[in-house]
């Protein structure tokens, strides 16, 4: 978003907000609202992952695990201990952030391939724990009967209200992320992406920065996970698998590095791709099944093709290039 004038950016953001906010007034299709709620949840995760991968250049293949950590924590606290919703969600977010911190601290020495493998390994470990820690997670059966979001006696139980809640959080996440990247930490993150050694030599505390960004993005994933648990009422281990982590990475890659708008659009598009059968009225059952069946192939292929042919991702189309800034924002 670097080159779009702040005023235009504000207008775009306002227009998108109005469109998104008006949806519940235009439709009362419960399923559609639910799908669009999922879009919002993925957007929250992607806001954090875009900071980590797109700006700081650090890959995480474990964000589904942070999402799951938030979901299980909040679900367990509200179902088994009747902890108030707001507190449970905060706990889920905090635990995910702590997990991110603990994973990031030793991972500091790692970069590129090693970091990817370490986070991938973390995701697999969590996948096993989600199944095996039956006392808390309910094993393969998962946890059900997770209560709707509520503050005091005010219960957010209609699909429209949940939709608004999730998208309000998503808007906050993006506003926060956009502010972050415009300030000193944002510049430091880009320097880190460009050259870690160079950033270090320029006085950036690369170690501290990496840990902070990792923790923030893990926290956002945990927050989205907690919100997810309370919007669907049921969670099970398969929802937090490696595939989901990879899909999240795909969203940021397709969206483009050094951008928040690009990954946001990619998050919307790739999430909707999963539910395309429900979105196109009049689509035959066979065609719908076919699309659903090939969804993983399509996502994977889009990811590869983006890196090969459009290394800048969607963001490259969105911004007018500054002269001599051709390399900026490419997956390096």
């Amino acid at each position: 978003m670097g080159t779009v004038a702040p005023r235009i950016r504000f207008v775009l953001f306002a227009a998108a907000s109005v469109v998104i906010a008006s949806v519940p007034f235009l439709t009362d299709d419960r399923y559609l609202l639910k799908i669009l709620t999922f879009v919002g949840l993925n957007a929250i995760v992607v806001a954090g992952l875009a900071l980590l991968l797109g700006f700081a250049g650090q890959i995480s293949m474990g964000h589904a695990a942070f999402f799951g950590l938030g979901a299980y924590t909040s679900a367990y606290l509200t179902t088994a201990h009747e902890v108030p919703w707001l507190l449970a969600v905060a706990a889920g977010t905090l635990l995910a952030a702590t997990g991110g911190l603990l994973l990031a601290l030793p991972s500091l020495r790692l970069k590129g391939h090693y970091l990817a493998m370490a986070t991938l390994g973390f995701n697999e470990i969590m996948s096993v724990l989600f199944v095996e820690m039956r006392g808390i997670t309910g094993g393969n059966d998962g946890l059900s009967g997770i209560p709707f979001p509520s503050i005091g006696s005010f219960v957010i139980d209609s699909p429209a209200a949940i939709y608004i809640l999730v998208w309000a959080v998503a808007a906050l996440a993006f506003v926060g992320a956009a502010n972050l990247v415009r300030t000193r930490p944002g510049r430091a993150m880009r320097a880190l992406h460009g050259s870690e050694l160079g950033a270090l030599a320029s006085g950036v505390n690369t170690v501290g920065l990496k840990v902070q960004v990792f923790a923030v993005s893990a926290a956002l994933a945990g927050l989205a996970g907690a919100l997810y648990a309370h919007s669907v009422g049921f969670i099970s281990p398969s929802q937090f698998s490696l595939e989901f982590s990879i899909l999240l990475v795909a969203m940021v890659v397709v969206g483009g590095t050094g951008s928040l708008t690009g990954p946001f659009i990619a998050a919307v598009a790739l999430t909707l791709l999963q539910y395309v059968h429900a979105l196109i009225p009049g689509l035959s059952k066979d065609a719908a099944a076919l699309i659903q069946d090939w969804e993983v192939d399509i996502s994977g292929l889009i990811m590869i093709l983006t890196v090969i042919f459009v290394p800048g991702g969607l963001a490259a189309f969105l911004k007018r290039r500054r002269s001599g800034a051709g390399e900026e924002g490419e997956i390096a």
Binding site: A118, F122, I125, D293, I308
Partner: protein, 292 residues
Amino acid sequence: MGSAELLQFAVAGLKNGSIYALVALGFTLVFGSTGIINFAQGEFFMLGGMLAVFFVKLGLPLPLAVVAGVLATAVVGLAFERVALRPRRDSGPLALIIITIGGSMVLRSLSRHAFGGNELSLPAFTEGASIVVAGAAIERQALWVWGLTIVAVAGLSWLYSKTRFGRSMRACSLSHEASRLMGIDTARIVMVSFGLAAVLGALAGVVVAPLTQTSFNVGARIGLKGFAAAILGGLGNPIAAVVGGLALGLVESMSIAFISSTYKDVIALVLLLVVLFVRPEGILGRATREKV
């Protein structure tokens, strides 16, 4: 625990360890000549088993089906490098990681379309009851696992040390630029490395299929364990990959014997993280420093 039981666990550990070693060799081979960690390495393992089952169903006799499965996977490996990786060969690690991750997604999913979502099994290479040695039963297929691992390792070290091609590969792992200046076709070396890595992965997948069954989604976890083995030994060194594989197999097996089988997979992964965090260059490896 009696000594026969302990031996039984050791046998199982060395059997799985050989499989990890073969997958680890694939990682090491590609890393050696390209500096890439191939996240699709586990999918080569998966394809080997699945394609062999497919060829058996076509009516091919088992030995032919096994060879055909391995060769077909090699073709996939070569094609993958040529089509997906070569266009961005000069990019940094992030782009290449993402391409191989995308590739593994596509390969896994295509395999599900082609061969279905069910578990498939391959007949044992030789029929017959297990052989009992000192009270431990050894499946005949385990002998095949060890035999093929030894053949693969011997073949690879011969290739590395005795052939012109192997020397070119080693030169590439030191410096692409210098190798090119010496007249080595580095692009070809990289492509063949992927082909060989695919052969090693497929070999592991096909030889273990009669013991464990196989399905379209077995690649991710075996890939992780193979990588853990490669890292454990020290990435880029074939002998270290084998040592790492066997060590990982034994540790896993002993943890089943003495701790619990529930967390068997977790132990391998925790080990991976610990080695990555404490000694990323591996037990047998040497540390390198990043230069500007």
